[in-house]
């Protein structure tokens, strides 16, 4: 197949030389993504927009299922030599694809090789280094980037006569009033992402040794201190007092009661904005992810979740040039602004953010700005992200143990002991996969 593609591109090149510019054969590139439903439609819009903007390259987006399925499909295709040009890989899979030296061409290289100016400072904080290597070189091009924020049901807050909390201390004060008003005060949709990874970032706490794992997989270990354990003890207390609702690991199971107006406040993704504004029948707003005032140095920014686009290795130069030109199109302020408005994901460049501001978008929808404002809050040593292998399984371990805390099968202390033991075992196993 690779051979056939080479032949095809040679034929295309020959045709190009042989004919006048009138009959011009575009170079085809493929893009495997995991964006279903409405998001998938916007992805197709972006691809069509790119194809219409020039005629040297033609990109074809292909939907490959969930994030996990897309990564697995990409890996299987790579091993068979039939990889797509662009593969969308999610946050938890970043270590797998970046750790496989030679699987991808860094986004920075592909742009610079094609003669496109690249400056990592153009990208907003919290996005910039998440998919970069330890030297700060951007490997994956951030695509759908979101961060956890607190959505509030304005009717519920008004009824209870309270304001949205900035800190967890404030939450503890207002939660009983919301309960009295007939609401479950709080729910969340992703314990590992919101109450673990971004909890660490929001409080500027170390998450793993080796610089949160960026400095290499060998001997990377998880770090859990008192703040996060105290947090889970508090959450379990809220659950028992009816101040917090836990509806399992599924994202939707936890969002549904908020959409139905049973839960007053819900911690979800800034990318949920588009969906919520189309679904809910009550006035809603959003604010920053709360933090514990009692933790020293808390209140720092969060980092992104979501996925990035990786340019797969082993493709002819001509196609790589097309990938570069597509990345350039994708990161242009206009496209980023459109993506931001349509989906609620944050714009990834400062220029796109400025465009959204000057266009007055945040005047009509102030809640849409919360995610990006939170990402650009002052950072610290531990707010740029994490890089850990077999992270999908580590998240599964967290979900399992957190589930046990919620159902009372285990204590917070024991749960974190298990997460550390099982997680470190997985990290150790991962470090052996690279053959070092």
């Amino acid at each position: 197949m690779a051979y056939r593609k080479t032949v095809a591109s040679l034929v295309a090149a020959a045709a190009l030389v042989g004919t006048s510019s009138a009959s011009y054969a575009a170079t085809d590139i493929s893009w495997w993504h995991a964006m279903g439903g409405r998001l998938g439609e916007v992805v197709v819009d972006i691809a069509n927009g790119y194809n219409a903007s020039q005629d040297a390259c033609k990109i074809t987006p292909v939907f490959k299922g969930t994030y996990e399925e897309t990564l697995t499909a990409g890996i299987a295709a790579f091993r068979a030599g039939e990889q797509p040009n662009v593969l969308q890989v999610f946050d938890a899979g970043a270590a797998t694809i970046i750790g496989a030296k030679g699987a991808v061409i860094p986004a920075q290289d592909i742009l610079e090789n094609a003669g496109v100016a690249f400056n990592i400072e153009d990208y907003i904080d919290g996005v910039r280094y998440f998919y970069a290597d330890s030297d700060g070189k951007m490997i994956g091009m951030p695509f759908n980037s979101s961060t956890p924020i607190l959505y509030t049901n304005e009717d519920a807050l008004k009824k209870a006569g309270v304001e949205a909390p900035k800190t967890w201390e404030e939450f503890q004060e207002i939660a009983p009033k919301l309960k009295e008003a007939g609401y479950v005060p709080l729910a969340q949709s992703h314990l590992p992402w919101i109450f673990t990874e971004n909890f660490k970032s929001r409080h500027n706490l170390q998450f793993a040794t080796n610089n949160n794992g960026y400095d290499g997989a060998k001997d990377t270990k998880l770090v859990f201190g008192d703040p996060i354990k105290n947090h889970f003890t508090a959450v379990k207390g809220w659950l028992d007092d009816g101040l917090f609702g836990y509806y399992g690991t599924g994202w939707g199971d936890n969002q549904t009661p908020f959409n139905e107006g049973k839960v007053a406040m819900w911690l979800g993704s800034s990318g949920s904005f588009g969906g919520i504004s189309k679904t809910v029948e009550f006035p809603f707003s959003a604010t920053y992810l709360p933090y514990w005032d009692a933790v020293d140095g808390a209140g720092t920014g969060t980092f992104i979740g979501g996925a990035a686009l990786f340019s797969m290795a082993g493709k002819p130069d001509e196609e790589n040039k097309c990938v570069a030109s597509f990345f350039q199109y994708l990161t242009s302020p206009e496209v980023q602004y459109m993506w931001h408005k349509e989906t609620g994901y944050v714009p990834i460049t400062n220029a796109a953010y400025e465009l959204a501001k000057t266009d007055g978008y945040y005047k009509e929808a102030p809640a849409a700005e919360i995610g990006i404002k939170q990402l650009t809050l002052p950072g610290g040593d531990w707010t740029k992200g994490y890089r850990m292998g077999f992270y999908v399984q580590i998240r599964d371990v967290m979900n399992r143990e957190y589930g046990k805390i919620m159902s009372g099968e285990t204590s917070v202390e024991d749960a974190f002991k298990t997460i550390e033991a099982d997680g470190n075992k997985l990290l150790e196993r991962f470090s052996k996969t690279t053959g070092n």
């Binding site: 399925e69 496989a100 690991t249 599924g250 046990k404 159902s407 196993r429 996969t433 053959g435 070092n436």
Partner: protein, 293 residues
């Protein structure tokens, strides 16, 4: 038995070839690959790998979670096999006696057979949904607050119920044809000798059904072990969390979702060994007690 001779020596081999090729390509070769990669920790993209000996096996067998998954698989298999065989047998015996509207009755019991496992799982998810599921509302009347996806027992209950519901029709069809194969003369002779219908069933009908029952037992254990994958996947919604999962589902989780090829291969080798042992037990111990007529 009459001995049949082929005229040329190669004809039997040629006739066997397609079957052997299928077994080799789709079973022996992948199995050998799995055994090989179970001794390695490999980067999924295939750039590097480390030989780790039996580490994948010891890591797996010593982890607390693997024990829990194995225990659940055992209990799940037991319940699914026992309940789906038992209920199907009861329905078949009753259906055998129905005279009027028999075919309508039978068709109603059989149609579920045509439902694919993931679809069955989807129906289960809808019925047991913690926000809108009618069965959850129904059990709430009796004071049981079911929470699928949160409570381990409730989720197991939903899985077993869905898996049994899906499997009953297959067993029903086989039991019914087995019952209809028992000759009338034997049944009449039995009813002269013994008046208790219950006793007649256990001493005459049940032993005559044994070959069918034995066949179904194997089919059902295999079903509970492997074919319930779709049901488990749909009910846990691709997020294992603190939910019960079966051993086969864990192979998928680690291998395809987590890209841990070595660990996943080790698990499938363990499964292969288990199935092998199970097969030996079934044919050595149980089949001896079965009488074929």
């Amino acid at each position: 038995m009459k001995k049949v001779q082929f005229r040329s020596w190669w004809i039997p081999y040629a006739l066997l070839l397609p079957q052997l090729a299928i077994v080799t390509i789709f079973f022996l070769w992948p199995a050998a690959e799995a055994v090989q990669s179970s001794f390695y920790l490999e980067d999924p993209f295939g750039f590097g790998s480390t030989f780790v000996g039996l580490d994948n096996f010891t890591d797996m067998l010593t982890s607390t979670d693997y024990g829990r998954v194995a225990r659940f698989t055992g209990v799940f298999t037991l319940f699914v096999t026992f309940l789906s065989l038992g209920i199907a047998l009861l329905l078949a015996v009753k259906a055998d006696k129905v005279l009027r509207g028999a075919s309508t009755y039978k068709t109603l019991l059989m149609w579920v057979y045509a439902v694919a496992p993931p679809v069955a799982g989807l129906i289960g998810v809808l019925l047991f949904d913690q926000h809108v599921g009618p069965l959850v509302d129904f059990f709430a009347l009796f004071g049981w607050k079911m929470q699928i996806g949160v409570n381990y027992f409730d989720t197991s209950f939903a899985m077993v119920t869905t898996a049994v519901w899906k499997q009953i029709p297959v067993n029903f069809i086989f039991f019914l044809s087995g019952l209809q194969g028992i000759s009338k003369s034997v049944q009449e002779a039995a009813s002269i000798d013994c008046r208790s219908g219950m006793r007649r069933f256990w001493t005459v009908t049940f032993p005559l059904l044994a070959p069918t029952g034995f066949f179904l037992l194997i089919i059902n254990i295999t079903y509970a072990f492997f074919d319930t994958f779709g049901i488990v996947d749909v009910i846990v919604k691709n997020e294992p969390g603190n939910n019960p999962v079966t051993l086969v589902y864990k192979v998928y989780l680690d291998g395809f979702r987590g890209n841990d090829l070595g660990g996943s291969s080790a698990q499938s080798v363990i499964l292969m060994a288990m199935v092998f042992v199970l097969t030996v037990i079934q044919f050595r111990l149980i089949e001896r007690r079965v009488h074929y007529t």
